[in-house]
Symmetry: C2
């Protein structure tokens, strides 16, 4: 069974743009294949993660993106699990390559969130909640994550200032990331003084709205060596869906993420302690705290210390570095593309192309991409440098 590898990556700029989704996608593909043969020579199937048809009144992204990448007569489809759509696309590519279904697969994600006008993203994202049991009560994503944050602050020693420090750390990381939507340093007072969104969450606790696309070529190590390009292995993939409603779950033990991460670890033959860097789904600052615990990096109730230097964290913390890209918070969160942007950060870190944000000696990464509120669905991937040149 060949170990799938990521051998090429590309992304559009992230943020408000004039380009429609398919052109954002083309920008991502152009970057990924800039120094390679045409996509049609290297990919035999296409998966596209996309959350909502409401932004551009567009479905059938598989066919559309296959055509715009120059692929004809290949299997092509859209996959959707709200904000986990990008990692679902990656997961299909990984499974197809390891199972010998294809030698190369294009995994993409795209979202054109600013096309929906004011309130467009809030409305589109609310479709991820149960229509009868949740949507009709008027809940939004921030209001539900606020429930998690309130409960987390109640159960642990974390403060609003700790959550703010996570945002500060992620903006610091983004400042060194040319792909980031908000590559600027902020201070903790900026977060604490920003507009309330849903207490205790304030504007700077929340990932932004933005357009964006990302594309990743998954193939075999053999083909990547033939192409003479850097590559990283994807030895583990896991996915798990919890109940759709937050009200039905334990809000501070993100069980779906635990299961997905554990599955990916087991497939890869590693433990949480082996992970050097992790991109987790910090749609809100509290998510990074909760997912640090779910991934096994932090003891229960101590995940909020992700912003501290390893030596200052509580006993039981690993020395993993979180959200080196700037995370959803500051790198940006163009929904369907996010899972692949996480993969691109790990690719750059593990192939030594992360520039000044490089984590020295990093050779193992965990990606956690979620859809719906927290672990309504979680998709996990382990990436390793070990087969890289």
């Amino acid at each position: 069974m060949p170990t799938p590898v990521i051998a090429a990556v590309g992304a559009s700029p992230i943020g408000r743009t004039d380009l429609p989704g398919r052109d954002l996608f083309s920008v991502a593909v152009e970057e990924a294949f800039r120094d390679l043969p045409d996509p049609a020579d290297l990919a035999e199937a296409v998966y596209v993660g996309n959350q909502s048809e409401s932004y551009e009144h567009q479905i059938m992204h598989g066919t559309l993106m296959a055509e715009w990448a120059g692929l004809r007569m290949v299997p092509a489809e859209r996959v959707e699990g709200c904000a986990a759509a990008g990692a679902l696309a990656l997961r299909h590519a990984v499974k197809d390559v390891r199972n010998g279904e294809h030698e190369g697969v294009l995994a993409c994600g795209v979202e054109k969130m600013t096309a929906g006008g004011t309130g467009g993203a809030t409305d589109a994202l609310s479709a991820a909640f149960d229509r009868a049991l949740e949507q009709r009560s008027g809940v939004t994503a921030p209001s539900q994550y606020a429930l998690l944050a309130q409960r987390y602050l109640h159960e642990t020693n974390a403060t609003e200032r700790d959550l703010a420090e996570i945002a500060v750390k992620n903006h610091h990381n983004a400042a060194a990331n040319p792909r980031a939507q908000f590559p600027k340093e902020i201070d903790v007072e900026t977060v604490l003084d920003s507009s309330p969104v849903a207490p205790p969450l304030k504007l700077y606790d929340c990932a932004p709205v933005g357009d964006g696309a990302a594309a990743v070529l998954v193939t075999t190590a053999e083909r990547a060596r033939d192409l003479d390009v850097p590559f990283v292995a994807v030895p583990g993939s896991g996915a798990a869906a919890n109940n759709i409603a937050v009200a039905e779950r334990n809000m501070t033990e993100i069980e779906g993420a635990e299961v997905a991460a554990q599955t990916a670890y087991e497939e890869a033959g590693i433990d949480a302690a082996d992970v050097d860097i992790a991109e987790v789904h910090d749609a809100f600052t509290v998510s990074e705290a909760l997912l640090s615990e779910a991934a096994g990096f932090a003891p229960r109730g101590k995940g909020f210390q992700s912003y501290l230097p390893s030596e200052d964290r509580a006993d039981g913390w690993t020395d993993v570095q979180l959200s080196t890209s700037g995370g959803l918070k500051a790198r940006g969160h163009p929904i369907g593309a996010t899972g692949l942007l996480q993969a691109i950060e790990a690719y750059e870190q593990l192939t030594g192309t992360a520039g000044e944000r490089a984590v020295e000696g990093a050779d193992t990464a965990l990606l956690l991409n979620e859809g719906g509120v927290a672990d309504a669905v979680t998709v996990a991937h382990v990436l390793t440098a070990e087969v890289a040149r």
Copy 2:
């Protein structure tokens, strides 16, 4: 590599109903597992085909349907390729079982088309066309299929009456199908005298709008034998995306369907001539003619004879029987569920539970499910009775 089998099937009623999509889904699951252990004991992953969030303002069908089937912490996702979504769900289940990813997978489809109000389905379906190049010119699905029909009537000896006879044949078949939305006989004059939709297509050339859900358990033959249930094998699966725009394609040679069918035949080790029954994507009467040719059942230009008894068809026709369920035309076409309803018809025919519409001696079936206009994407499956008890 185990050959995947379908070991349980269920569907909701098809047509205008008061039930929301998730309840239609529950009805389908209840039927499929009526005589079996709980779904959670037999399925380790869930794929849900669904076309549009616009009907019920609902995405995340993977998580939602996993929960309503009682499955927790399993991989679950929505797949979308417009009207091919159902077969894409089946394809993932088939691939997962044959690759040993899971021993049992639930493949489902659901659509709540009547929730969109007047014009809702027309608008929702138009999202399958390229936003800039097609949607803005005001095209609808019937207007684009009318281009295919006009061209087909121009290039062949087929007449509008021939296309009408396909509708008559499919209504005749539906009259013997308890699952059908329109289980009633019609005559050819009813079709020819029905309201023009997009010439030469009239109301009775078009598949109806309807709500519906379907669920299929894909597992191993070994497990099906342990369960002591009838089952059919799925030895072949193919998929291919053509250009999204009809304007960019040969309108009477449905190349994507040819590629998808041929891939499925090759995987199954059969030829077109081995197929006894076929459910093809007769969204419009002309589709059955075109797909009979693409599948290799009929010589080019003679596919319109699908309504004739085998002995009266042109030389080069196989003796396949088309759309024994009544097809999309009369069995119904609840978009995301259609690909699985096709599988259910083949299951019933090949396990001897098709009642008075049974095709004697049938042991091999082809399913062709399409999304967008014609072969924007086509998904093909071959089902065989050979490993059935």
